[in-house]
Symmetry: C2
Subunit: 132 residues, 2 copies
Amino acid sequence: MGKRESAVYIISVAAELAGVHPQTLRIYERKGLIEPYRTPGGTRRYSQDDLERLELIQELTAAGVNLEGVRRILGLREENLRLRSQVDRMRRLLGEAEQRVTGHPAGETVVHRVTVTGRRHLPDIRRSTPFG
Amino acid sequence: MGKRESAVYIISVAAELAGVHPQTLRIYERKGLIEPYRTPGGTRRYSQDDLERLELIQELTAAGVNLEGVRRILGLREENLRLRSQVDRMRRLLGEAEQRVTGHPAGETVVHRVTVTGRRHLPDIRRSTPFG
DNA sequence: TTGCTCCTCACGTCACGTGAGGTGGC
DNA sequence: TTGCTCCTCACGTCACGTGAGGTGGC
């Protein structure tokens, strides 16, 4: 969060863009929700990523989540995204592995074949619904 | 939550076991954190699963998360656990698929082989750290 | 100097836990 | 009847956002 080059917004601008009080941004930082880059002089600089994170924070607090809740939810969401992309990657690898065995491209049938051979169900990721 | 047979604790007992006020349990229910079984007469009955969920809720509120935050965190955690077990299952399937190709059991080298053939990294699940 | 930054302290509002008060069925 | 249940309403505390007040560097 807050790479030197991309951190371009001073706190008043970031606050205006996010629609919050500058002091609110300082509170968010103290509570560990966001960590803007600091210039050598000690002033905060917010990046575009920071602004997107602020938008998420706004959504959650508007929905009634307090700051400690927001902090944990952001962490869990990140972890969740990591796990999702990992599942996607492994699903692709399984398709490729099957193709090497059968000699033709993987389709829906591949999932079935792998399932049968492996004696296990391959769960449908589309079932997992994102939260909040 | 709250299967008929396993829901054995009346609210006063559940509250005592969870270390909270009975009225607090009613609040948790109104906020959608927990849903005990109801007898035909309309009284609440809590199961062992409910009590474990209450313990989680206690941990989170003690850490300063408010009830809307708890509600979402519990949902995200569940989803997270589902994703983790899905990754585990697919990892096992990949090992089995590789064994069929190479003719010998999968080990650390299998991960490497699959990675090379698939031109992608197989992320290490042990990297993903559980949250709060 | 002006307008920003930094910080801390104080107030108002709201969420939530506790408790009281009044009801009804085993 | 006693002790539980159900519900709603009220109060106290705390978190958080807003704002003021005083500082210092471009």
